[in-house]
Symmetry: C2
Subunit: 337 residues, 2 copies
């Protein structure tokens, strides 16, 4: 198997506020041996997602990662030892591998292991065709129900999900307006991700700019950020608007409720007869194939592309998670081990 140890990143402390080096601890174990029905995945790629901050912070829609446990993460790799006939040695797979070099699993659980589609690179499988693209797809279409001609506002537009949302919106005949931090990102959102416009929340008055770009209001808001950014969107809703509450990265690092920026414009939901709804992509597991088909078709037509930001090296895993909260990633954040 090319190695006889398994390096792992464990959760060392329940994080409070911004993530610190001391929240994680490097650990070395003997190479795991599969028992009956089990197999070992050599992890080659890890996926980084804002929701991981929730998983290590406390109980959410999944039980919290415990102190001393391997940090929960999706990823891809290759089976290198197996006592499970469904997952033979040499098979490329994806699933919940965690922050470690080798993952011992029975393939079941909250995120089952599945074979990697033969036509997909690990980057594409974890990016556009991973939870990122699927989150964009179901959130925008199922909750947001956009119609051609609608104005779709996307916060975190340079992020993994946001950048796909805007591309899908454009593919459906909508106007896509992004919100991102800094000129470099905003240029990227328009030039690379193909949005019609992007508002720089670091240098522009967001509510005013939304009003200028969408004087009749926004029909769909795909929210990844929360706080003041969401308040600016709520102030500019069109009648019967749909607000998709996908994430609230602005609050994930808050150490206490007092640090959370409260929403002030929520009564605009009443004035505009509008709806704000949350969702969790795992609830759509039975329909993932539908999303993959649609995304594949748009990709073949050149309407949607996968955009990845790939870091390198096992040592850099904790720092790569922090990139999401420091606004450093462009598109889907991955790491190659």
């Amino acid at each position: 198997m090319g190695s006889n140890v398994n390096r792992r990143w464990l959760l060392a402390a329940r994080p409070s506020g911004n993530l610190k080096d001391s929240d994680f601890q490097l650990d070395t174990q003997p190479m795991p041996e599969p028992g009956e029905g089990e197999f070992v995945i050599k992890v080659t790629h890890l996926s980084f997602d804002p929701t991981q901050r929730g998983w290590i912070g406390g109980d959410t829609y999944l039980p919290a990662v415990k102190i001393g446990e391997v940090v929960r993460a999706g990823g891809a790799g290759e089976v290198v030892a197996s006592k499970n006939p469904n997952f033979p040695v040499g098979m490329k797979v994806q699933g919940a591998v965690g922050w470690q070099e080798y993952c011992l699993t029975d393939g079941k659980g909250w995120w089952p292991t599945v074979p990697l589609h033969p036509g997909l690179s690990p980057e594409l499988a974890l990016g556009l065709f991973g939870t990122t693209g699927i989150t964009a797809y179901f959130g925008l279409l199922d909750i947001g129900q956009p119609k051609a001609g609608d104005v779709v506002l996307v916060s975190g537009a340079a992020g993994a999900t946001g950048s796909v949302v805007g591309q899908i919106a454009k593919a459906m005949g909508c106007t896509a307006i992004g919100i991102a931090g800094g000129k470099t990102k905003c240029d990227w959102v328009v030039e690379t991700a193909g949005f019609d416009a992007c508002i720089d929340y670091k240098s522009e008055p967001v509510a005013k700019r939304i009003r200028e770009l969408a004087p009749k209001g926004v029909n769909v808001v795909f929210e990844n950020v929360g706080g003041e950014i969401l308040d600016a969107a709520l102030a500019n809703l069109a009648l019967k608007a749909r607000v998709i509450l996908c994430g609230g990265i602005s609050s994930y690092n808050a150490a206490s409720a007092a640090e959370i920026q409260g929403l002030k414009n929520y009564m605009q939901l009443t004035v505009m007869r509008a709806r704000m709804e949350g969702f969790i992509v795992l609830d759509y597991a039975a329909r993932f194939g539908e999303a993959a088909q649609a995304l594949g078709k748009w990709m073949a037509e050149g309407k949607v592309k996968s955009i990845e930001d790939v870091q390198e090296g096992f040592e850099n895993i904790p720092a790569t998670l922090r990139r999401l909260f420091e606004g450093k990633n462009f598109g889907k954040q991955l790491l190659r081990l």
Copy 2:
């Protein structure tokens, strides 16, 4: 016609913060004379609703009442002069009469004048069968979609709409939990309005009490208050919960955004895959008959009753509106001229 002057309450100033006497101005005009197609209603009853604070505060879902205009209000009365064959002298009617003794109208506009149903007292027509009951009906059923066995949480439970929402919830086989201010009100909510329980937000920790009364979370929240009360509800949602954003009386008197208590727990909508949606009862105008039929059936079965709080006297009109924001009313606030 028994009088030759028409006393009116005009909007004297755009209110800021709590309503003041100086926001309104008493005015006396000659008795109006109907032109072709017009008629004059002698106003006998006025309806008081939190949304009136919005109408005089600025543009909302209706254009703001202008300075110097009669304050907009629903009410009931009798036609005392007419050049409109559809509204002959002696007919009892209801509609947007405004804060005045005599209303000159052509019966059209944002809230058309309609004959009072012969079987209904003005109190019943403006209360259970008025916007109050209809708001409760469409908000709870259309937006909240309660199922038998659901837990329905109602803030402002002693108010006009809230007290009807709880009764409808009970009629549909749900558990109804109210939130109101003070022991007298809470006792009234349980004993008179028939809720299963009522939380006193002035003396009890609301979030903790919701958790005790609904350990599996609340399926439907009918929100009339907003702010901290809504945050406590959001912290206790069941999976796929529906939050009906009917009103936010806690913020209506805020002079500026800085005074509004922001919502902090909105990301619970994502964790619980829940939905928060606003509505305006006027949008349901075409279906008002459906609500009246259902409410009439429940009333005949003794499941829902109309509960009114009737003040007296033209002079007391502005003070009666303030009762809503001082939490003084039990059930539907009316005034008899």
